[in-house]
């Protein structure tokens, strides 16, 4: 009996709450005062909700900062690549200018001596001081650097070839802008030394004189990478260079 009475009371209270809820739902949408109550309740809750609002703003700020950082990193990477490309273009432009200036004042000389004992080291040409030859002047064959003037006399000069073991000149791989030193081995081979390992250097990449040369201007073509020669334990790799000029057969040179 008591149980039934309790159940009935629960139903009465439950149904009253439901009717009250429905009543509120029905009338509140048309009541202007409801807006004020909602605003009042919102302003009361503003204080306990403040930490959540603060944390939310902090989280949004952090997310925005993180996103901006990623965007800036991407932008930085893009600008770096663009910068590298522009540097390459500039170097090519400089090379072309040098080509043009050389083409304008290109002069030729005949090879008058290539001694068998120093076949890969030096040649003598029939131009000297009276032809405005100076020490250190680059010498070309077929448009490629083959050496530089090492001594000058009045009517002839000696040029040291790039295949000479004492020939050393700073050079750059045009595609990667890696700097190294071109040296000869005295047996007809030309090597590019001191290139850091793992820089993506491949056969066929062009090698030209670097801007850090003292007398020889930058951008003069030497040849191309023909393969790896040796990988040193010090982290540097030596590459074999195939000279652009035929080092075995030249009768005249230009300077």
């Amino acid at each position: 009996m008591e149980n039934t009475r309790n159940t009935a009371r629960e139903w009465v209270h439950g149904l009253t709450a439901l009717i009250l809820g429905l009543f509120l739902l029905g009338i509140s949408s048309g009541l202007g005062v409801m807006k004020s109550i909602v605003d009042l309740w919102g302003s009361i809750l503003f204080i306990p909700e403040y930490p959540a609002v603060f944390l939310r703003e902090m989280f949004i700020g952090w997310r925005s900062w993180s996103r901006d950082k990623n965007t800036l990193n991407d932008e930085l990477e893009r600008l770096r690549n663009e910068n590298a490309k522009l540097r390459l273009d500039l170097a090519k432009l400089n090379s072309e200018k040098i080509y043009e200036s050389h083409d304008n004042e290109i002069r030729t000389a005949r090879v008058t001596l290539r001694a068998p004992m120093s076949w890969w080291s030096e040649i003598r040409i029939d131009r000297g001081k009276q032809d405005k030859i100076t020490q250190g002047l680059p010498v070309f064959s077929n448009g490629y650097l083959i050496g530089r003037v090492s001594s000058v006399s009045l009517m002839s000069s000696w040029a040291e070839l790039i295949t000479s073991p004492s020939f050393m000149i700073p050079a750059v791989i045009e595609e990667t802008r890696e700097l190294g030193v071109v040296v000869g081995d005295g047996n007809g081979s030309v090597l590019l030394r001191y290139i850091p390992a793992g820089r993506g250097v491949r056969s066929g990449m062009k090698v030209s004189t670097a801007m850090i040369g003292e007398q020889v201007p930058p951008g003069l073509p030497i040849g191309q990478i023909s393969g790896e020669f040796s990988a040193g334990v010090d982290g540097y790799t030596t590459y074999r260079i195939e000279p652009g000029a035929d080092m075995s057969r030249f009768y005249t040179v230009s300077y």
Binding site: G14, A17, L18, L25, S28, M34, K35, V38, A52, R56
Partner: protein, 156 residues
Amino acid sequence: MILIILWLIQDLLTVFTGGGMQIPGLFMLGLVYRLLTDESNDENVNLWGIWSAFAGGILWDLRWIGIPGFFTLGYVVVVLAVIQVWGIIPPQSRNSGTGLIVFILMEISQLIPPLLPVLILGGAAGWQYFLTQQIYSLPAILFCIYFYNRKAKNRM
């Protein structure tokens, strides 16, 4: 007091997520859990439950809906359903083998209140939010069931 804290936690979490994520109905979970684990034999507990649900629903509507009634009706319906279903089970049988019923009642407490606004207001986004809330509610329900089972074992 615990119900007020749970209501506030639910509110703070909703503020923190900015409405972008549906928060489990912690208030209703707490209320249902309290009704299911009541050992006081006080006949007024169920009435307290009905009017607590009514008050909690009104306050939630005023805070997040703007029109009182939506969640109020849902909360009261859930409490009435819980009281009736739980009342069918004799008190001496409530401590064993009732895990599934408790789970269903807890699930109802998460299913019905947000359903009413979605049914009335409609919209694909509303359904999406509703389903997301159900998924997020599941861990909270399982958490409550774990505590319920532990308490039931202690009583036995």
